[in-house]
Symmetry: C2
Subunit: 225 residues, 2 copies
Amino acid sequence: MTIPADEMNGVGAASARVAAYLRDLILHDHLKPGDRIRQEEIAEQFGSSRLPVREALRMLEAEGLTEHEANKGARVPRLSMHEVDVVYRMRERLEPLALIESLPALSDDDHAHLEQVQQQIEANDDLDRFLDLDREFHLGTYSGCHIEPLNAIVTRLWNSTQHYRRAYVALGGQARMWVVNAEHRLLLDAVVRRDATDAERFLEGHIRRTRIELSHHPAVFGEEP
Amino acid sequence: MTIPADEMNGVGAASARVAAYLRDLILHDHLKPGDRIRQEEIAEQFGSSRLPVREALRMLEAEGLTEHEANKGARVPRLSMHEVDVVYRMRERLEPLALIESLPALSDDDHAHLEQVQQQIEANDDLDRFLDLDREFHLGTYSGCHIEPLNAIVTRLWNSTQHYRRAYVALGGQARMWVVNAEHRLLLDAVVRRDATDAERFLEGHIRRTRIELSHHPAVFGEEP
DNA sequence: TGACACACGATTGGATCCAAAATCTAGTCC
DNA sequence: GGACTAGATTTTGGATCCAATCGTGTGTCA
């Protein structure tokens, strides 16, 4: 019912606007795993035809945010605990690569921005805001990496696990926030020093610890009737 | 001009048929990096409207086989040597994960099939056939992995580098075919023994060696008039 | 002669209409 | 009473038509 009022509100790509709108809904948990997405419904909210919605759903499918079955429509994918575990293992292996590619290209301004984001994380106590800031922090450390296939896949992995990350933090993960901050600080320091070895190690450890803590919270993955 | 006559020739998904057709063209080098894909042209060949073509192009974009720019159309992406190098590094890190997931689930029949494919590789001397068989061999070793995000990304990485793999083999890589076969044999043996450690090591080494040999052939990436 | 501007052709993006498939409901038969 | 079938509704897939945008080529003016 709410008109998006997104970034590219002007002319150009209506399908991109729809995609941005749906992406936002999914990443902020207004559409949850298992939810069905009806084309007409979205089209109505936009006052557009269903066509841009169809294209948007294809784009989101590319990002791992929706899944599509012929003649049955689009849904937000539901991942099992094991699948999320493997996606985290993928992140452990891939993101250090993006970081290594990015490190030499990050400017002093980039470093300052990361420092500022981390300060906001430490001062913050809102769940949704933390998820946004955490994403901005990590993807920010990769912003010097200009290998498109790698960027696309890293973003995809983040997107497809966002819901479970939220569920975990909401389920008591905040108590471990000091660990997150310590890890972020060590990582950021290595980034500023452009120490690839340390940065890679801290990043992999950070993701790995999160994966293990997630695996101790099977309730996050319990399907509800 | 040739009608696809694909698997799903019946009713259902015309866009999927178009996607399969274009995928085949790209993987077999009838569409090369930099080539533009005109929607109307493809639609005409299929006797369909442009709409399924548009959806097909979105699907292929998801697989990394095409890239799309607003109001400018679709092209087959052209990767720089450095980009291909990074994609190979991604493969080095990701594919062992798929293999580990797959190993315990592979049946004796699967092993027999892999053995047979490898025999065909050793008996073969055709370039295109080698690429098909090599793909079947490696993806076959991952066929026990049922983590969709991982499968999708591995396939994507293979797709986006297929052209350069072909160019490398065509440019004299056949002389090193015995190395490929030795590596495949060691890998296959580890797979049959369900030795995850060895399998992972051999696979990573196999991809790494290919990456390094590719980097010694910059001609593969030189743009031709 | 060079550069800017305008207009035309080519190509993609979006809307509306129609067809096909799937799901849901109700009714009937065993 | 339960289960299967047939029809109606909902939803997606595809075709055709129209609008917007980009690239290009030509012409004119400084």
